[in-house]
Symmetry: C2
Subunit: 353 residues, 2 copies
């Protein structure tokens, strides 16, 4: 499997056609699972890790669990390739940075992914475009049920699923919704929204999970509680909160369109101008400019461009994608030049007037 | 005479085709003269000022001094129109801000201009495109000689021409060269060049003369000495110094092209991107972006655009020009929107790729 073939495509979560796709990029549900009879990951020998990797991938294959599956042995991949997989959200940063036998098995549509020997023995992940919490949960639950017919997961009747980190014990469930909130940032309401989110015992993170900074007004909102509630109860808080954040963002966009039309048009079109013309562009600047363009698109201020252009630019200008497409490592300066070239090449054929 | 008709045209000094036009925008020579038998301007009554205005304009007309002449009574113009004339360098900021009977008489090509009742009774000015110190001086001297056949100028055999401000006594001559020095600014060599200029007893000023800031890397270099030397001696220092500054700027551009190609291309093309797309743009930002585009043009990095496009954008986006073209006063915010609209309209039909 050549990652290069993937570089020009968009996973399902970036197709931009899900519910509420103007504000919600994607929904992700993951379940943390560990195999009974083995210590947690940190105490596993390499042989045991390899054993788990084999058992999980074999179960997946026997169950015909995943459509058009792709299995990648991460111990045998380059740093560049792992970065590429992180950018597509097919693996976590932790799995990329890990050591020893570990792997990822994902579907051709990139909707489903099984991370093997991440923080837990197994992370079952479903990513979907737009706001699809229930659908993603059903799909992840289904994968989990089917895997449990072949694998014995560590489970306590008192605590629920046992996990390497206590914050995941119980359901092992984390659902997160990636939102694009530029108008709340511009109107300086985002901090208030974060406070409200924290009161609901939900967490806000940047684009690539824990410890990453929010770039270009993209935020992940997810549950913190995994224990003492059913999966449905956990998801309910998120399902009730996200639509309210969407409403705030919509209201802020309406206010901007009404009261700051020139300011907002200027911001959108300057971003278009810079993206179409710059000769070097950092990852952070590209994300921030694409954020403005995405907002412009969904506010009906840009014609000739669709959300898939933006998503192609967005994912394609990440460092790993640039390097995989280029076919080798690039220095940060070379990446900035390559990124600008890539963005220009995509926008060249777009009639934006 | 409708100033609006001028708004879309370029005076000779902005035609961009003079010698050394990659770095020298224009050359200006002015002679300060006062009428014998009258006090200096500050002590003149309005009747005396009107008298001088009539005598000078009549002399000009009888001598058929100026081709396609245009006489503007500045006491009868709006602030907006005077600002427009300042932006075209047809009148000085001092004449614009003055009071009482005062006027300007200029030629259709805008090469020659007689300012009446500025700081002195008469300022004879010649503006030419590119580096043309000798030509401008010859032309100004010729105007002066011909006027002297009709008018009696205040002259002391010991001091030379008498002027309101002692810094102009003697020849009454100021020659200034407007230079575009972006590469010296980028490579941080401009201060060193300024120090060298000061050692030559030359002065450096911004775009619109004394007390104005240099905008967009445009600088006026002029003589400070007017007394105790002949006109030719005064001009010689300038004539020897300007080519050396040009050489420094050329060398700095070559260094940039060789050592910072991406940086410089990025700067040029970002400027193009912003100018073609922004929805509001301040005068300072426009000047600074046009400076980058002008440098790009003369460094051979831009096709499809010529220096007249840039000069049209440059002069046309000045506040007075925007308002005269619009047909009335605009608030600063409205001007920023109008400026962006104007710049886009000029660049729309330019194929820059």
């Amino acid at each position: 499997m050549e990652l290069r073939e993937l570089a020009g495509t968009l996973g399902e979560w970036l197709r931009g056609d899900g519910p509420q796709c103007g504000i919600v990029i994607s929904t992700r549900v993951r379940l943390a699972r560990n195999m009974a009879g083995y210590p947690f990951l940190r105490r596993l020998t390499d042989d045991q890790r390899a054993d788990i990797r084999e058992r999980v991938s074999q179960a997946g294959s026997e169950l015909d669990l995943i459509t058009a599956p792709c299995l990648i042995d991460l111990g045998a991949t380059s740093h560049m390739d792992r970065q590429f997989l992180v950018e597509r959200h097919l693996i976590s940063r932790e799995l990329a940075a890990g050591e020893g036998p570990r792997a990822v098995l994902f579907s051709g549509s990139e909707t489903e992914s099984l991370m093997i020997n991440e923080e837990d023995h197994l992370r079952i992940q479903v990513m979907r475009s737009g706001l699809q919490i229930d659908e993603a949960w059903r799909q992840a639950g289904d994968l989990d049920d089917r895997l449990e017919t072949k694998l014995d997961f560590a489970f306590s009747s008192r605590l629920g699923y046992l996990t390497a980190c206590p914050t995941n014990v119980g359901t092992g469930l984390r659902a997160s919704v990636m939102m694009h909130l530029p108008a709340l940032v511009i109107t300086r309401q985002i901090e208030k929204v974060f406070q409200a989110i924290a009161r609901m015992r939900l967490a806000v993170r940047g684009l690539y999970g824990e410890g990453t900074q929010a770039a270009g007004d993209f935020y992940q909102v997810s549950n913190q509680v995994t224990l003492g509630k059913t999966e449905e109860e956990i998801l309910e808080t998120l399902s009730l909160t996200i639509p309210r954040i969407i409403q705030y963002e919509e209201k802020a966009r309406e206010t901007l369109a009404r009261e700051s039309e020139i300011f907002i048009e200027d911001r959108i079109w300057r971003a278009v101008g810079l993206l179409s013309r710059a000769r070097q562009i950092s990852s952070g600047e590209a994300t921030s400019l694409l954020s403005a363009v995405r907002m412009g698109l969904h506010m009906g201020r840009l014609r000739g461009l669709d959300v898939q252009h933006i998503n192609r630019l967005f994912i394609g200008s990440q460092p790993g994608h640039l390097q995989v497409r280029h076919g080798g490592e690039l220095s940060p300066e070379e990446r900035d030049v390559e990124r600008a070239r890539f963005v220009r090449s995509v926008l060249k054929d777009v009639d934006l007037n």
